[in-house]
Amino acid sequence: MSSAEKLITDAETLLKPYVVGAFSRTSVGVEAVVKREDLPPAVKALIDARWGYLSAITGLDHPWPKTAKPASKPPEAQAEPTGPTEDRLEALYQFASGAVIATLRVSVAYHDATLPTVCPIIPSATLYERELQEMFGITVQGTPETRRLLLPDDWPENVYPLRKAFKGLA
């Protein structure tokens, strides 16, 4: 078994109790969907086993109905637990170990856009969580610092620049 293959198998074993559905292989590793309440224990499982480090938290916006053509429907549309029939936001927690990236995908609806913090497990995640809050409007509950990190002081409340609907300030 190659070292990359072993890392993937290890990650799958650690994350197995928390994932919804099956793991899927990506060009750079493995990914799986988790429910938001399972996010901290899943992260803790990886960190406690010293499986790599949190490389990034990537936010995605999936407005509904999708404006893209049906032919170009992105692959994870089927993977989302409840089906994307409403405006949803997604956060990808990307962990790196050697050549492998293990991605945890968490999806939340616009009207309930909250995620639990992972800072008690990974203190340095605070910067990533603050970025996610400001750019996508996902409230990260329990994150230690909620002051603005990137947007200017006079940026209006409840305007999230990386959402697809944002086309610039009036």
Binding site: L54, A68, P74, E76, A96, L150
Partner: protein
């Protein structure tokens, strides 16, 4: 509420965000008790230009030129990370000669960046002679990069599917002779930073980050490697031509500022070796392949080793002519955590060196306002804080 009976023992020292002499602004609030730092927080975003959003309105080829402008020091690695990701999504094979030229430029960029850092760090430590020498030598590499690419800053070396220019014999010789000059100079700098008493006083056992902390805080690049955490994307997940021209990860164990000097200087030797090896063994062949303007739907992660550490790109295509999402996580963001965590317990005078130690892509600090307990404020310039640090250790 603070009690009126007991005088406050701590001051908050806000540093930044603006200074015209430095490249990028950042804001730090350093809490001090007397001379000793007890806590540190920061604020970023003063040069946040919304590039991730901006590229969503560009086509795949245009986006690369915008992304290359994220950083003025390591522009090439941004374009390379992006190009490698797009090529993976498009399923094209880039010719080996193009990949080798990408690595060649990446290593030249690392040399210029590390020499730039050496100068900045020496300057913050009050050692301006070393600053001037290292920046003089850096010009050799800047000339080489300009001769090769036509530019000193945004080299614009990549196209989607390859590179724009070839390396001819004259250029190869120019690079070799620059490296031949730099190598003995680098040996000299190594001797200076490990033997000069004054500099050692500012670096040895200052800002120590243990391997455990560095790993836990997610440090990357030279900051992690100086603490003995062997994270190097070139080694862990070789990309472009690194499988053909492997590098070894340079590590140290001390984790202090001195180790950060040693690791970066050692990396220069490794870069010199790889640059020579590429020039001697440049694979023949084409410089680029065609990439269609529409990229098939999908998503990928592309990682490269920037001079400051792992640069992370997440790319997502909806099958259209422009990117659906580009996420960029630069290495400085990972390394800030090590300063915020280790500043406590250090002297205020060490803060400029601690900040310089991670080679932040360079967040600057301008006015420094000290607010004493009577509420009257005094404003310091960055120059004064730096001078204060130097005087303190005189």
């Amino acid at each position: 509420m603070d009690t009126q009976q007991e005088p406050r023992k701590t001051f908050v020292v806000p540093i930044g965000p603006q200074h015209p002499a430095l490249k990028e602004p950042g804001h730090f609030e350093i809490t001090v008790e007397g001379e000793i730092v007890t806590a540190a927080t920061m604020r970023l975003g003063y040069v946040h230009r919304g590039i991730e959003k901006g590229v969503e309105g560009q086509n795949w080829a245009q986006a690369m030129y915008m992304l290359e402008r994220i950083c003025g020091i390591c522009s090439h690695v941004h374009a390379t990370a992006y190009a490698l990701g797009v090529e993976a999504l498009a399923g094209v094979q880039v010719p080996p000669r193009a990949q080798a030229i990408r690595v060649l430029v990446a290593e030249l960029e690392r040399v210029h960046s590390h020499l730039l850092w050496l100068g900045v760090a020496a300057h913050e430590g009050g050692f301006d002679t070393l600053f001037m020498y290292s920046w003089r030598d850096r010009e050799l590499i800047m000339d080489v990069l300009e001769g090769l690419t036509g530019n000193r800053v945004n080299y614009s070396c990549n196209v989607l599917g390859g590179v724009k220019f070839d390396v001819d014999q004259t250029q190869a010789d120019a690079i070799r002779s620059a490296i031949d000059l730099l190598e003995p100079r680098t040996h000299h700098y190594m001797k200076v930073v490990t033997t000069d008493e004054t500099l050692i006083g500012r670096t040895r056992q200052v800002g120590t980050v243990t391997a455990e902390e560095a790993a836990r805080l997610g440090a990357v690049g030279p900051v992690a490697r100086a603490s003995g955490v062997p994270r190097d994307v070139r080694v862990d997940a070789p990309y472009a031509a690194y499988p053909t021209f492997p590098v070894k990860a340079v590590t140290a164990t001390a984790g202090d500022l001195e180790a950060k000097f040693i690791v970066r200087l050692e990396e220069l030797f490794e870069s010199y070796r790889v640059i020579r090896e590429i020039l001697d063994n440049l694979p023949p062949g084409e410089l680029s392949v065609r990439v269609k303007p529409r990229i098939p739907a999908g998503e990928t992660v592309s990682r490269v080793e920037a001079p400051r550490g792992e640069l992370f790109y997440y790319l997502r295509s909806a099958g259209g002519p422009n990117p659906d999402r580009v996420k960029v996580r630069t290495p400085s963001l990972c390394n800030w955590g090590t300063i915020l965590a280790t500043a406590a317990g250090h002297k205020l005078a060490d803060v400029p060196m601690l900040i310089a130690g991670i080679d932040p892509c360079f967040s600057c600090n301008d006015r420094l306002v000290t607010i004493n307990r009577r509420g009257d404020a005094e404003t310091w310039t960055w120059a004064r804080l730096r001078q204060y640090g130097i005087e303190y250790y005189r």
